[in-house]
Structure formats: C-alpha cells, structure tokens
Symmetry: C2
Subunit: 401 residues, 2 copies
C-alpha cells in the first residue's frame, strides 16, 4: 500500500520546493531553511503544550488553527526565539513579513519556526540577508539541504518520503524533521515539517495528524513534556488532484501510511538521540487497556536507570519492573513476563533464570527489543527510546556556551 | 533549641546499640547492620509507594502499621530481596526469626530491610552466619559501622545526631541513612533508620514522621517515584522518660527539630549523589500555593537538561523556565524572576542580562542556589538536587554486573 522512496524528502512531493543555506546564526553550518508550496495548502499541526511557548510557535499555531491556506514555511536553527518577550514576537513577525514580501505572499500564508538556544534575541538581520539569498528548488538535494539547516545537536539530517497507493491513484507523503535530544523527555526542540500532494479537507487533516502524532512522536515522549518550540506540521497542497474524504477506504489507507511515516520520522530522532549507542523498542502488552500500557511504556522509556543499564549492556530487569512499578498503574508483579529480544528473563511467579553470556551478546547489539507482558488483558503499545551515555552528558553540559 | 552533635549517630541516643559487619553478601565491605533498643520502642515510618515492593519492606511495613513495639532492626546491603516472590518473603521472615531467636525477642519485635540488586535470591546462610557474629555496642563507632554497612553506591557513610532542648528536658534524635542514586528519582534504594529517646505516642509519632518526610526526603524526589525498598523508620524508645504530647509546646519544638534532622539526612544523600559534583538548592517562591511551588520545584530538580547544564557550569536559564513550563502548573512567564545565588539572570518582562564571567564563577562553585520567583503569590518551597555527570552514567551502566 505504501513504499518508502530512495533519498526521499519534502521535495519528493509534487509542487513542493525547498532550500537550506547558511545565513550566519551558526558559525558555518546551514541555519536557515524554507519550504514552499506552488499551490495553497491546507495545514494541520500539533504544538508544544509547554506553558512557555516560543514566539514563532505562537505565530504559526494561530495560523494553523485558522482557515488560512499556507504557501511557505521559514525556519532557522541556532536560536529558539523563546523567552524573548514582545521583541521576540515582533522579530518572528518581521521574518514572516520579509519572507512573504520576497515571494509575493500574504504574511499569513507564511509559517515561521525556530530552534536553538532559549532566551537569546534573534539576529533578524542575518535571517533577512539569508532570505535575500534564497533560491528555491524542487530537486531532492534542496530538500536534504533544508533538513540539514534545521539541525541542532542532530548528527544526521532526517529526510523521508513515501509513495502511497490509493484506489484513486498515487500520492506522496514527504518531510524533514529534527531533534536529537529525545533520549529523555523535555530535551530539546523536536520539529517535523511534512507535506503531501493529496487533497484533504482541513478538519479531517487535523484529525489524522493528531492521531498519527499520538502514535509516533508522542511515543518518544515529546508531548506531555515538550520544549518551548516543538511542532509537527503537515501541508496538503492537492497537487495530485486526488481527493481523500473522511470515511472512505482511501482515508483509512492514507491514515495508516501517515502513521507509519511519522513512526519512521520519530524513530529516526531516537536513533540520532544525543550520545545514543542503541535503539530500544519497548513493547508493553497484555495490559487491561491501552492507557495503562502507554503509562508503563512511558515510565520504562524515561527511566535513567533502565537507559544506563542498556548503555552498559546489563540485563538489569529489576530496573524495568521497578520503573513499571512506580508508573502509577495497578498491576500484579507476579503475573509479569519480561523478554529481551526473544529471551524470557523474568516469568510469572517471579521466576528469573537466563544465560548471562547469551543475554550479554543480545544487549551488545545496536537494536534491542524489550517486551513487558502484564498477563492481564489484551491491550498493547510500542514506544521507542535509546540508551543514556556519557556522551549525552558531554553534549548537554555545555550546549549553550 | 537543637544542636547537632559531633560524630553523632544512632548510638548517640541513650538505650540504642548498633553493629555493622561483613557477612559475605559483598566481597569485602560491610554488608550487615543491626540497630537494637534496650527498651521496647514505638515505631513510625514511611514506605515506598512503588507497586513492586521488596519482601522485607512488606514485613516491616505491616509491623509498623500495627501496635507492636520494636526492639531491633536488621538490614543487609548487597541484595534488595525484591522481585523474589514467595521465596523472598520466606527468606525475610527467616532472617527476622533467626535474629529474634539470637536476641531473645519475639519475631514481630524485629524489623527487616534490604538494599542492593533487585531479583537475586538472598543468601540467607551468609546473613545468619553474620548474625551469629553480632556483638552489639552503644559506642559511637558502632553506629558509624552500621551506617557503613547499609551503603551501596554511597561513597560516604551517613550518620547524624542532634540534641533537642525541650521545656521538660533534653532528648536526642539520631540516625543513619543511605542512598546515593537520588540525583534522579527512582534511582536506588533510600533508607533512613532513626531513633529518639523521647517518649511519644504512636499516632502522633506517625503524624510527625509523615510531615517531616514530606518536607525532606520527598523533596529530593523519593516519594512519587520510589524504588522497591525505600523506607524511613523512627523508633522512640522513651529512655529519657520525657513524654511529648500532641498539642504541647514541646511537640512543636520536637517536630521542628525532626524536620531539620530529616532535611540534613536528605541533603547528605543528595550531596553524595552518584557522580555528583555540585549540591543544588532550588527555591521556588511567590507561587499561588505550596502545591504549585512543589510541582515546579520537582520539575526543575528532575530535569536532566538543567542538571547537565549545572554540571557544565552553564547559565542556561532557558532550561530552568522550560522545566517549569512543562510542569503542568499555570503561570505567566512574563512575571518570572530567576536568580542564581544573588544574581538576577532573568527578570519580569523577559529581561535577561548578566555578566557571563561573573556567573560562570558562581556556577563553578560546589554549592549553588537557584531561585525561581513566579511573582504571583506568597507560597514557597525548597528542594535539593545535584548535577548530572558522566560518572553517573558510569556507575549505573554496570551496577549489577
């Protein structure tokens, strides 16, 4: 029903152009990206629930909430423009206006976003000079440049696209994202700018974006505990002339594809977690209901003790069950099974018996699956995290200076 | 009204004896402690709220809940006896019985406790051999030996005692504690075994212990997110013949002293936090109510981003306000003042202006106070934490193996 495209990115989608360049907020690296749609696009998005919201996020959130169609998105890295008060808001609006003027758009057709250090005034002159230099392209490299320009502590640019086969024809979903501080909640800004050439009515678009985010980015703990700047945006520009209507088979197919796409993006963020050496899949199953499963999974993926044990390839299942225990969910420890890969290391009735050497070998791998089975129902969930390494401390001890 | 005693410990209290020795659960270090009261003592305590509770904790909790008076407490390090099922429970009871028999006590006069790795069967033979070797003493070194014997990743034994001046005479509060994984919640077992020679009625004793724990150990995040074995015990053996009755001036004086005593113990745990290089005092003030202040303080002291920035002596106030922002408390960021020591680095109206060099010098110190002022009420609180260092990862990556 869908397949990922080689070197896919936001510009894999018909009618989308992009650019990524260096404007001077960072010393040498690319720090300014723009995404442009040839056609007015419906928008949907999810935004941080932090009480402290960055200025550009407030501007974009109010536009996405309205009926306004979108033509462009301008985003800088190197400065979050958060906690910058009225000046910050004026700066975000000035960037929006400058960008709109250059491309002959209305201000409100341009979304704005920033990521980087909190509390430093934005160098708007540098960004304006950068906007002057913009030359948009629909080539794949242009999309990858944009992905590069939104990086902060990310070590890899993150670009993806997929082709989705519908009854009424093929559409593309594509996008870029950033965020590498996701190995713990609250770490740093997480951004995802995605698009499609499908034609989708706004209310339904928001509905499927919210659901897809809940099953992907929010399972790497980016919602309940978000930064000041987090946002996920989906632009649907209708270039394919394929209309997706709520309730249709195509709607279900598109939604499934979007959930998979967002999972891929979310997992790419975890895999590039600050200092991460392992990708960890946490499955919680046989729970009474999905909420219980999610609460336990979140507690496990956020436990520094579990994450440091994984870093040391230590089969410390006691920390896993302890994390579940303090999650607040009511369960019977005597019914629990814990598996690492396909090895049962803790069985109902508090039975723990396993080959340490065999398990060590599994834990030394880069990709690890932990299954926590409550033995008490049929709800399940899957979350993603990475280990917690010394490099993480190093990166974060001196991020600002 | 009260003063701390030099080299104070549990044996500073009249009628308390102790011992700490090596029984073989650890390779060489002391791993078995006992506290003994010459007189039957009233007990009060607080216990982990983790769903997964260690066997000895279940045994002790049910005794402390009853009217049973206590004569002794036996505790081992090196093994938590948690997640060990029915065998674990039988082992805890066997240790209790063996200890009671040796000292001519009833089983239910003996509390039991364990700390160490989760999920490994207890070597009861080693402990029984250790009990055979016990020779109790009321000397100060005996109390310090007991403190040493309950250590796990602690680098220092933690012993304190204070003399409390009451209308009706002097009483002593003393005790030992352990816990060094408290630099994040959920880290490791936190134990505090404390006593007094005051005579206090059981219901009131529990009341003041609960209040003192709430204002001390729970402000280093040991309650909402506790390990399987956490407990705080207070034994009042009445040796002083000084009776403290609820509602009296002496009761207030004793309670204030106990709160201060528990804060000292709690802070000693933070100061010895795994890999800690700094002690951090977090004051949240001018909040609408105390609950809001506590929720924000907890969010700040638990933020890995704040803690890594402190490790790097980085004045990253953006992470502090972001942590407050995702705490869930409703506040106006424009009214916030943030101080480090006495320097205001963020003022109402999003004003941030400070001398980086001067601040760096303050942040390089070992003792740091962060004040977060909401400008919106008169409630306040104070929590304690430490920084998050590479050594923390090192300690926890290979704790079990």
């Amino acid at each position: 029903m869908f397949k990922y495209l080689n070197s896919g990115t936001i510009t894999s989608i018909p009618g989308f152009k992009a650019v990524g360049l260096h404007c001077g907020l960072k010393k040498q690296k690319k720090d300014l990206a723009m995404i442009y749609s040839d056609f007015p696009a419906e928008s949907a998005g999810t935004f941080t629930i932090n009480k402290v919201k960055a200025a550009p996020l407030l501007v974009s959130q109010s536009i996405v909430k309205s009926d306004q169609k979108i033509r462009a998105l301008i985003v800088n890295s190197g400065n979050a423009n958060a906690c910058t008060g009225e000046k910050g808001l004026n700066d975000a609006l000035a960037i929006q206006e400058y960008c709109a003027a250059k491309f002959g758009l209305k201000n409100e057709e341009v979304l704005v976003s920033s990521t980087g250090v909190i509390g430093v005034k934005l160098n708007t002159e540098a960004i304006k000079n950068g906007i002057d230099k913009i030359s948009l392209s629909d080539s794949l490299p242009a999309g990858h440049d944009a992905a590069e320009a939104i990086m902060t502590t990310d070590t890899k640019a993150k670009s993806f696209a997929m082709e989705v086969e519908l009854e009424s024809g093929k559409v593309i979903i594509g996008g870029i994202c950033k965020g590498s501080g996701m190995i713990m909640p609250n770490m740093a800004t997480m951004l995802a700018f995605t698009g499609t050439d499908a034609e989708i009515e706004k209310t339904f678009l928001q509905e499927i974006v919210s659901e897809a985010v809940a099953k992907s980015f929010n399972r790497i703990s980016v919602d309940g505990d978000t930064s000041t700047n987090d946002m996920v945006i989906l632009l649907a520009n209708g270039a394919s002339k394929i209309k997706i209507t709520k309730g249709s088979d195509d709607a279900e197919k598109f939604k499934s594809a979007l959930i998979d796409f967002y999972k891929t993006l979310a997992q790419s963020i975890v895999k590039d977690g600050e200092g991460a050496t392992k990708f960890v899949n946490v499955i919680v199953q046989s729970a009474k209901n999905e909420k219980d499963a999610d609460v336990i999974a979140k507690s496990i993926v956020n436990s520094p003790l579990v994450k440091t044990a994984l870093n040391g390839a230590d089969a410390n299942w006691g920390r896993i069950i302890s994390a579940a225990g303090y999650s607040g969910v009511d369960f019977d420890p005597a019914k629990v099974t814990i598996k690492i890969a396909d090895k049962e290391i803790f069985k109902p009735g508090y039975v723990s018996h396993f080959d340490e050497d065999e398990l060590k070998e599994i834990l030394l791998k880069k990709d690890i699956t932990i299954t926590f089975d409550l033995g008490d129902g049929d709800a399940s969930t899957e979350w993603w995290t990475c280990d917690f390494s010394k490099e993480y401390i190093e990166i974060n001890a001196s991020y600002r200076t």
